[in-house]
Symmetry: C4
Subunit: 228 residues, 4 copies
């Protein structure tokens, strides 16, 4: 390894350490902040009722974290664009974690007919609903958008050095899907009149169901065009 | 190293960093959440009374963490099964930490005749006892079961590549012991009638005493079949 | 690699891990401590109003963290001066984080005419203002000064080994700018009479605007004298 | 590198990551737990009054952390003794952090004649004093003792492999000093009659002043017998 490469390796490694540490932190924030340590069996059972929402949040954020890991595999160099976009991803994740948890614990609470508890009460009716979906959608779009920009940057710098950037461009297309869905859901919630019927408010929520398509798509792409 | 191997090394390294950071976090959660900073000598002594329970929790969770370290020694590659099972282990550890602490601080409290303090009061009698043992046993089985699956995966992928997978299969058998004990204890607690006499409720607890067999077994296996 | 070099690599790597982990922590402290988890949409919107101040703090501290990363690129060896200065940087960052957040959330609150919320109320008039600017300026000067000393140390040890220390000396000059500005702002705030008119209190604040010059300067230097 | 060495490298590296992350955590615990985020200038100034005590704690714990880093330089292999002693060090550090902070903030409070604030009130007179010194001395002895055992283990395993273990034996002697002082101070406090005059209670405290001898001693040893 030349000296420059080694230096880049150190800088890239430390950025990764920072990102990994921050993501590990963000996930535990959900636990620290959301619940006091239970001091009776009832409170323990109440806390365990929040596990499904916690699980979805956990794997959602782990999914974004893994996006950053995949980005690093495509882009080994340490330049300032990659650095600031990575820090931006951590920053959005820190903000994202609260609306994410609120949306999921509210959703599990209403889907289970109140059997699963939720610290979050939605008392304000449609205005509340709109605010929540706009926050969530916008935060979602920010995170997926940052990852899209990271892969765009990886694709560009690979092209500049004359490397194959098929993988980076494929990931770029994949991450642009959740970014677009998040933005579309936020806009839908913003444009829905407050007098819309109750069922209409589930539209921005159901738009996220399209995301479950990404998992198989990623795997299929990865398997078909695996780095030889 | 070929390029693919190096990429796998980066991904595996970052997963490890994430897992290590999260486990270091989980252990300190016990401290942050459980006690306010003591502001008088009495409170300091009260806090120190909780040290035995904290010690058992600490080394219990460190034992699971070390299970993941041992898994990495058997399975260097970074594939999606290993990744999601590792994240699942972190997820279960985050949930596991509270019932674990409750059970141990309760146990030390009653074993010491109340000399060691416990924030957790068990007021509900047998129903409380049952809930606690079911939570604990199930959580225990989940964590050990995830490690069993990790080693199963390591054994399978070693076999597929034509490598020796004796170690991985041995570890797989070792970890299936606590998984089975946890599940058995949870089921025993679930099936015990609430009218059972007081001593009967110690059965699911004593079932865990079989675990102390694993330590020497692991060491013996490791020494006999140490990687040459 | 000789054995000594390898040992130094381990020690330097662990110092970096410590610094990175601590900085990732410090950033999340802003989140943990400052806001309870919102349990209603109103509180969520209130929390989101604090995002601009959080963003400025986040990138400000990330800037100092990156200063340490850049220092490591200039100084690979692990000696006790570098170690204690690095620990000093973490120490100042831990103290710095609170006045930093107070100043920025106060500034965004007053710039937005109260639209952006601030937990921090400045009720004491000029005396309050002075205390805040002195704390902030002094903390700022401490952090930037520690980085200046780190680069001074890197330049000296490079010179001693007969290496090129142009980069280290350049960084040294760059970091001495915020150190000087912070000190000058703190002194200005300290020397302003309490009877000074209201606009005079914005002087120590505006002195920080000179900092925005550093970014382009650093990039220009880095591009012109990039390590070949 | 042979396969075994590489595997040991991975395990040792992950243990180090765990230890570094946990120590970074422990230091921030002092900040999280001890003070609410200040929301007025008065509270900020009050918090800054706690900085001297925080500084001493920070560098005290960083000193123990650095002891572990130095141990790793003497002992590259990953065996179960080294692992459990490292985990024990983290465990003691987690418990140690509270009495450490109490003692120092109390000391700065009384040395400054109350000018530096302390959350900790010592109302119980000599009995309080005794409890505090016993806790502190015992915790101190535990941490330094664990490091002594780590270096003892390093010296033994170096001897077994036929390597030079001069460094490890030297460090072993160095760390046994604080272990002995801590134990002696705890015993002195325990044996002092409660009716002893006020000045007598400063004896266990002043015994720690002998520790300042270690710094120069370590440096001198390191310089004289530096690894060639």
């Amino acid at each position: 390894m030349s000296l420059t490469e080694q230096r880049e390796g150190i800088e890239a490694g430390r950025l990764d350490m920072f990102v990994d540490g921050a993501f590990a932190f963000i996930l535990t924030l959900l636990l620290i902040g959301g619940d006091k340590i239970p001091d009776s069996t009832d409170k323990l059972l109440y806390m365990l009722g929040g596990v499904p929402a916690f699980a979805v949040c956990f794997f959602q954020i782990a999914f974004f974290w893994h996006g950053h890991v995949r980005w690093r595999k495509r882009c080994h160099s340490a330049d300032s664009t990659g650095r600031w976009l990575s820090l931006l991803l951590v920053f959005f994740a820190m903000i994202f974690v609260y609306p994410l948890h609120m949306v999921y614990s509210g959703a599990f609470n209403s889907l289970s007919g109140g059997a699963l508890p939720s610290d979050f009460q939605m008392t304000g009716g449609p205005a509340d609903m709109r605010a929540l979906f706009v926050c969530f959608g916008f935060a979602y779009a920010c995170m997926a958008g940052t990852l899209t920009l990271l892969f765009l940057h990886a694709a560009k710098s690979a092209a500049k050095r004359g490397f194959n950037n098929l993988d980076a461009r494929r990931e770029l297309r994949i991450w642009s899907v959740p970014a677009t869905i998040g933005l579309a859901s936020a806009l839908t919630a913003l444009l829905l009149p407050l007098s819309a019927p109750g069922w209409a408010w589930s539209i921005p929520g159901f738009m996220y169901s399209l995301l479950f398509l990404i998992g198989p798509v990623v795997n299929r792409f990865n398997r078909r065009y695996a780095p030889a």
